[in-house]
């Protein structure tokens, strides 16, 4: 058999943790081979070993039928391997051509020959149908184009086998579709593509063969045609998982959180939240769906006071809170479970009790005349560990010693007991294993039953389908439309996520031309002249 990549018995340990255990992987030339598994299943470790960024503790590697030791990326590149990393490694201040030829500059008389590099880039770009402007600076290009540049970088190094690590995580559905078409054309040219993902849909859409990893081991390698989505989930998770809709009573609370015509800019100073209006009632879960990077982060940050808004209105129980400091907003009843738990959720080096104390360190019973009572804090944390089923030895454990799912539970425990009756929950189960996901969903439903108003932001549609009473879809900073959670129409949501306006615009009062809004690019290029610096 003609194998582009042949891994046998690869094992890699990090201390006591085994990331890869006895992995066999055979990738035939000319196929798209997907490697799928949950976070922490060992996909990225395996690819880093293949690309020479990590050394295996055991096992053999053969490329194109030759046994090799890949001790640096240079060796892998020389053997025709190319890697498109999940996080792009482009230099913003350099041009597209400079980035592509970085490390293999074309030189004349000892000086870099820019004209030749630009010409070669143009030729490559035409040959593979990946449109770029070679002399443009990378800073400010959209992620879709950045990914094209990364692929061209790999092609310029004559790669015949291309590894893509989670390539669609940051792409819009249209960009993903373009990417898949490009990958298909590569394979038609006799190249080989290894595709790492944890998204079932795209794996089913694009791959020829699927290898499933779980807990660092290969669970199955099968042709896609013999697999169903259901089977794939069972292989990935190890048991049948049903994310059925949670039973619930009707919503009859009063409006607790009202947002009207809210605008904000992202870090590049581009409008990223555009005229968002919504209302969440007590005892209701309002879901926000959308591809990551379409304004959800900005929405959560503005609501919690972490990002200055441009204008608009946010009312908590009828009281305007826009522009207040995060602590003041919290004091008025908002609890915030941030999207990135390691950045804004916990202090990873602090104990669980200290993490729990954050925000209530000056309140009774934890503080008595300005002196902290650690005994009270530890007792409270012990109670929370029990109540939220947090897998930790005790309240004095540093947060970093817990798994992602358990850290998330610590954040949820703190926020749900903070006394706020409006909960802003951003990506509650990102990177959390399935068992913990169910527990977190249970807890969110319990909060709903207690009459809390919940704004749930998630990129995972099945999560919203299970939990939300209503679902709003965001695209390019705008709320595209609303779907009833009870009879969720995935097709309609998918279209709105891609920027196609539903038949009836959700809020005609804003006077926005729906066609124009839909035509606006998801990642607008910064304007050349008026960019505010």
């Amino acid at each position: 058999m003609d194998l582009a990549v042949d891994l046998q018995g690869i094992t890699k340990r990090f201390g006591a943790f085994t990331a890869n255990s006895g992995i066999d992987l055979a990738v035939r030339r000319g196929e798209i081979h997907a490697i799928i598994g949950e976070n922490g299943a060992g996909k990225t470790t395996l690819m880093n070993i293949l690309f020479g960024l990590l050394q295996p503790d055991e096992g053999r590697i053969a490329l194109n039928g030759k046994a090799m030791v890949i001790d640096s990326p240079a060796v892998a590149i020389a053997e025709g391997l190319g890697m498109v990393h999940q996080h792009f490694k482009l230099v913003p201040s350099l041009t597209v051509a400079d980035n592509i030829f970085l490390g293999m500059e074309i030189r004349r008389n000892g000086l870099i020959d820019r004209a030749a590099q630009i010409e070669r880039t143009r030729v490559l770009s035409q040959k593979f149908g990946l449109r770029v402007d070679p002399s443009e600076r990378v800073a400010g290009l959209s992620v879709g184009i950045e990914q094209r540049i990364e692929i061209l970088k790999v092609l310029a190094r004559d790669a015949r086998t291309i590894i893509l690590d989670e390539p669609t995580a940051v792409l819009t559905p249209q960009e993903s579709r373009d990417l898949f078409a490009t990958l298909r054309s590569f394979v038609d040219d006799g190249m080989t593509v290894i595709f790492i993902s944890h998204h079932l849909e795209e794996v089913m859409e694009v791959s020829d063969t699927v290898t499933v990893l779980r807990d660092g081991k290969v669970v199955a390698t099968r042709p896609k045609t013999s697999l169903s989505k259901r089977e794939l989930v069972r292989l990935m998770v190890g048991r049948d998982v049903s994310f059925d809709r949670r039973p619930r009573g009707p919503v009859d609370g009063k409006a607790a959180l009202e947002i009207a015509d809210l605008w904000a800019r992202d870090d590049r100073r581009l409008p990223m939240l555009k005229s968002a209006s919504l209302t969440v009632r007590s005892g209701e879960i309002l879901g926000i769906a959308g591809v990551a990077g379409n304004g959800q982060t900005e929405l959560a940050e503005v609501l919690s006071g972490l990002r200055p808004p441009s204008h608009g209105s946010v009312r908590l129980h009828g009281q305007e809170v826009l522009g207040l400091a995060p602590a003041q907003i919290r004091a008025r009843g908002l609890a915030h479970v941030p999207g990135d738990r390691m950045v804004r959720g916990v202090d990873r080096n602090a104990s669980l009790s200290a993490n729990m104390l954050m925000g209530r360190q000056d309140k009774a019973p934890f503080s008595h005349r300005g002196i902290l009572s650690w005994a009270t804090a530890h007792a409270e944390m012990r109670a929370l560990i029990k109540r939220f089923d947090i897998r930790a030895r005790g309240p004095k454990d540093p947060a970093r010693s817990l798994s992602g799912g358990n850290i998330q539970k610590v954040v949820l425990a703190r926020e749900f007991t903070a006394g706020g009756d409006v909960l802003l929950i951003d990506q509650p189960t990102r990177g959390v294993d399935i068992g913990a996901q169910e527990a977190i969903h249970d807890e969110i439903m319990r909060q709903r039953d207690q009459g809390r108003a919940i704004l749930l932001i998630s990129t995972q549609l099945d999560e919203l389908a299970a939990l939300a009473d209503r679902i709003l879809v965001m695209f390019d900073g705008r709320i595209m439309g609303e779907v009833d959670g009870e009879a969720m129409d995935e097709e309609a949501i998918g279209l709105m996520m891609a920027g196609v306006d539903p038949a009836t615009p959700v809020d005609p009062s804003t006077g926005i031309d729906p066609i124009g809004a839909a035509a606006a690019p998801a990642f607008p290029r910064p304007p050349a002249s008026e960019e505010v610096r």
Binding site: S72, P73, A74, I77, M83, H85, H87, K89, L90, V91, P92, S93, L94, D98, N99, L102, G103, E105, R107, G110, L111, I112, R114, W263, R265, R269, L270, P271, K274, P308, S310, H311, G477, I512, D513, G516, A517, A519, A520, P524, P527, E530, V532, R533
Partner: protein, 328 residues
């Protein structure tokens, strides 16, 4: 008016060029490390140690070139130690830089005591200064006054000013310059392409040492042939300040150094006019502060404004509505 006339003349420009040279050399050296992503506050120490060893070298070899080489070598040793600690052992760059600065200050004093048995300064004792370069034909072509501007400097003055275009070429068109920029701006990109970050940073550090060494040698063997305790007098730190505000861009470095050099030259001139010396000596630092403040004032983050212009583009409304909304 008479005072102003005698203050601002060709001699002041010549003095500016002379006083700019050491700080320009050391700041351009620091440009390499700044661009490579190292915050190098060890410039002062490298300059001082080079100034001292340039004098020693000049005495022992009896030649100014010998002095220059030995001075530069001493700065390179310091730069190497700095690179080993900061790049290989990942020590904190500020702590290491400060430590080396203090070491340079103390070491020159103790060595002076040990070798010459004196404190304060080394004067005479057979120190050979750098020769002055007369540009042939300059006087005939340009006349006395203009010729002064380009002729009669020590070689390092020419090196310093020619280094500016040379460095523009290095950053813009050579592989080394490109790698230095990439390592400073996006190290993970360099790493992914098999460019050794450590090697590039070592190279940048040593290039910095070379330039700082030239700066030091210029101080002690240039216009005055002597070494005094702490004779770098904060120029290395001034260079660091210039580097922070220029982000290592050679042209901006040149502009900053010229400003400081001009203020320095002006204060020297003012002293001869009988102004109180403590005020006069503060001039360069005051000028530098004002300039830095002006720069940072301009670069301060502007409040976020949702202008009609950007909103319209985001909404991509039709041109008719565009023009009407501008008026309203």
């Amino acid at each position: 008016m008479e005072v102003l006339g005698s203050l601002f003349n060709v001699a002041l420009l010549v003095a500016t060029i002379r006083t700019t040279t050491p700080i320009l050399l050391v700041a351009l050296g620091g440009s390499f490390t700044t661009k490579a992503g190292i915050f190098n506050i060890g410039l002062e120490g490298q300059m001082l140690i080079a100034a001292f060893f340039a004098v020693i070298g000049s005495i022992y070899t009896g030649s100014s070139v010998g002095g220059l080489v030995i001075g530069v070598a001493a700065a390179l040793v310091f730069a190497l130690v700095y690179a080993v600690l900061v790049v290989s052992f990942r020590a904190n760059e500020v702590v290491v830089g400060l430590a080396l600065n203090i070491l340079a200050g103390g070491m020159t004093i103790s060595l002076m005591k040990a070798i010459f048995g004196t404190r304060g300064s080394i004067v005479g004792r057979g120190i050979v200064g750098l020769p002055k370069v007369q540009v042939p034909g300059a006087r005939d072509l340009l006349g006395f006054n203009a010729a002064q501007l380009i002729s009669g400097y020590t070689p390092l003055v020419y090196v310093a000013f020619l280094a500016v275009p040379a460095m523009l070429l290095i950053y813009g068109r050579t592989r080394l310059g490109l790698y230095i920029r990439v390592v400073g701006e996006k190290p993970e990109a360099a790493e992914a392409l098999g460019i050794s970050i450590a090697r590039v940073r070592y190279t940048a550090s040593l290039l910095c040492g070379l330039m700082a060494g030239l700066a030091g040698a210029h101080m002690s063997l240039g216009y005055i042939t002597m070494f005094t305790e702490n004779m770098s007098a904060g120029r290395g730190f001034m260079a660091v300040a210039i580097l922070i505000f220029s982000a290592g861009d050679p042209l901006k470095v040149l502009a900053g150094c010229l400003l400081f050099g001009f203020a320095d030259a002006l204060s020297l001139r003012l002293q001869t006019f009988g102004f109180p010396s403590y005020l006069v000596l503060a001039v360069p630092y005051a000028v530098a502060l004002v300039a830095l403040f002006a720069l940072s004032w301009r670069a301060r983050p502007k409040t976020i404004r949702e202008t009609l212009e950007t909103m319209r583009r985001a909404l991509s409304v039709s041109p008719e509505r565009e023009s009407s909304s501008t008026r309203s």
